[in-house]
């Protein structure tokens, strides 16, 4: 077993576009899938 090196307060791959009319912040990573039936929640 290895503890995952996750810093939960940092979001990786946040794309940002600033223009006069619109500010767009996009999440460039895929996300995983967690649900309450299993013992795992692995992603990032």
């Amino acid at each position: 077993m290895k503890k995952m090196a996750i810093k939960n307060d940092i979001v990786k791959n946040l794309k940002t576009k600033l223009s006069n009319k619109k500010i767009k912040i996009s999440f460039g990573n895929k996300i995983g899938l967690g649900y309450d039936g299993c013992g795992t929640h692995t992603h990032k």
Partner: protein, 527 residues
């Protein structure tokens, strides 16, 4: 002003040069000519990488610093923060938060779950509209302020799925244990195994699912390991037809580890089946709840089963650790136990369904929050991954909502469905013992079509707005009432989560913990 929400890992930009100007320091981007004047004190912090996330952000949004993990920043030449007319937003609420002897005001956007901690002095400036343009911008990009000129903020984050990618295949409803809190009310001497016609219909229905590229078949029960031949039959059927569909297929199973046979091990190895287990901590805790038909604790058999899996080179993904009266007061022992056996785990409270309705083992108000807090305080000291800490931290500290049970709308009949041995399909695994939540039967209709039924559409659109208490809660953007837990407790899925009060304590605690660690240092203690 401090906030983890939208935090990145910043560093200096190689495109930036520094010029000393009358005792101050000008940072200038040599490509864009964007610049910012720093005082000597500010420059020393910059030079020594001592800026906090908001100070870095001020540079970043001018192109004067970079994000270590993403170089995709586009600043249109039309963008000029000095021209913006920022104002307070009606959508933002606030509350005071004490961390040790320090007092903060938290601005929170309840819809987004975004928040910012302000000192009393900063809050005073905010109330008088006396913040700098850069400070307003930091609020604005978090949905914590408006712009009179109606500049739009677009958060492009993954949205809930339209079609399920995971199906819980209840390969049997029989079980070799009779756990005291079993939400599906399973046990020995009853139950049925899945028939081949149900297997065929389930496989076809899932492999034909639109939009989804990866399908996971997760075997549960009852106890899936009591029907290994059924699991093998199912998987062999998938393997024989999957080439006809454009899907990647994965398998996993959640077992109690009481019956780890050579047949099970071969199946897991043959088809690379991921394995999770159910375990409530050390023997004195597990044996109170995970018992057989004679009331005998199963811990020793589970321990042997885990050893046999590992001796055969099988990695266990993690353990579901059900939290109730048998273990809620022992968070340290739980963390130490799972660390000792080298297994990541996810603690979660007993759900009030099935046999739990007779046995009343679930946590009492406040107990789950206290247990969580204690585990969180030792997270850096004990080297085991506690998935619940990760899930809750992610929801409080970031805009990411990838845990489908803690997000509106939840993953029921979206990312996930569950099928029983007789072909009845449920929107979530938690409903598998509840007849009134049957979406349809795979022998009669496709799962894709079941998703279009009015009742299911209503469930798929169950958000905080549809639940009275949640609709008024300031934490609704980082929370979700578990639909089957609400049903179990109140007989109504349109109610708050049974652990609502605990959740609020946990969100506040996590804000305090972040502020303590990142803002005021570790010398202060909670009050």
């Amino acid at each position: 002003m401090r906030s983890p929400w939208l935090s990145r890992e910043y560093e200096k930009s190689t495109d930036v040069v520094v010029n000393e100007v009358d005792g101050n320091y000008e940072l200038k981007n040599i490509n864009t000519n964007a610049s910012l004047l720093l005082s000597k004190v500010e420059y020393d912090k910059y030079e020594n990488n001592l800026f906090n996330e908001i100070e870095w952000e001020k540079l970043y949004l001018k192109g004067l610093a970079v994000d270590k993990n993403c170089d995709d920043l586009i600043i249109d030449s039309s963008f000029d923060v000095s021209n913006k007319k920022f104002i307070k937003s009606k959508n933002v609420e606030n509350f005071s938060l004490k961390v040790g002897k320090h007092k903060f005001q938290i601005l929170i956007n309840p819809e987004l779950g975004s928040w910012m901690a302000l000192t009393e002095e900063e809050y005073g400036k905010y109330k008088k509209d006396d913040l700098t343009q850069e400070e307003w911008l930091s609020l604005f990009i978090r949905g914590l302020a408006d712009d009179e000129e109606h500049t739009e903020v677009d958060f492009d984050f993954p949205v809930p799925a339209d079609y399920p990618s995971v199906i819980v295949v209840n390969i049997t409803t029989g079980c070799n244990l009779r756990c005291k809190y079993c939400f599906a009310d399973c046990g020995p001497f009853k139950g049925e195994n899945m028939t081949e016609d149900v297997m065929d219909a389930t496989i076809d229905s899932m492999l034909s699912m639109p939009q989804v590229k990866v399908i996971t078949f997760e075997f549960q029960g009852g106890e899936a390991s009591t029907n290994v031949s059924g699991m093998r039959k199912f998987i062999e059927k998938v393997e024989s037809v999957k080439a006809n569909y454009d899907k990647l297929v994965k398998y996993r199973t959640e077992i109690n580890c009481v019956l780890v046979t050579d047949e099970l091990i071969k199946l897991v190895k043959d088809f690379n089946v991921s394995v999770g287990v159910s375990l409530d901590g050390p023997k004195e805790m597990t044996d109170q709840t995970r018992v057989d038909i004679n009331g005998q604790g199963a811990f020793d058999r589970i321990e042997k089963g885990i050893k046999k899996l590992r001796d055969n080179g099988i990695y266990i993904d993690g353990a579901v650790c059900t939290i109730g009266q048998h273990n809620v007061r022992y968070p340290r022992q739980l963390m130490e136990y799972f660390d000792q056996i080298g297994m990541n785990f996810k603690p979660r409270p007993v759900n009030i369904l099935g046999r739990e309705k007779e046995n009343h083992l679930t946590t009492r108000p406040g107990e789950w929050a206290e247990c969580f807090k204690e585990m969180h305080k030792m997270k850096d000291e004990i080297d085991v991954e506690n998935f619940s800490i990760h899930i809750f931290e992610e929801n409080v500290y970031t805009p990411i909502r990838d845990y489908i049970c803690l997000r509106y709308p939840c993953g029921a009949a979206r990312e996930l469905v569950s099928v029983n041995p007789n072909g009845d399909v449920f929107p979530c695994d938690g409903f598998k013992g509840e007849k009134q939540f049957v979406m349809g039967n795979v022998l009669n209709e496709r799962i894709e079509d079941m998703l279009k039924k009015p009742k299911i559409i209503e469930l798929r659109n169950r958000t905080a707005k549809t639940i009275d208490k949640c609709s008024k809660c300031i934490f609704r953007g980082m929370c979700c009432s578990c639909c089957y837990s609400a049903y179990g407790k109140f007989g109504d899925i349109y109610r708050e989560d049974p652990h609502c009060a605990d959740r609020k304590q946990m969100y506040i605690y996590l804000m305090q913990a972040w502020i303590e660690e990142n803002v005021i240092g570790k010398e202060d203690t909670y009050e």
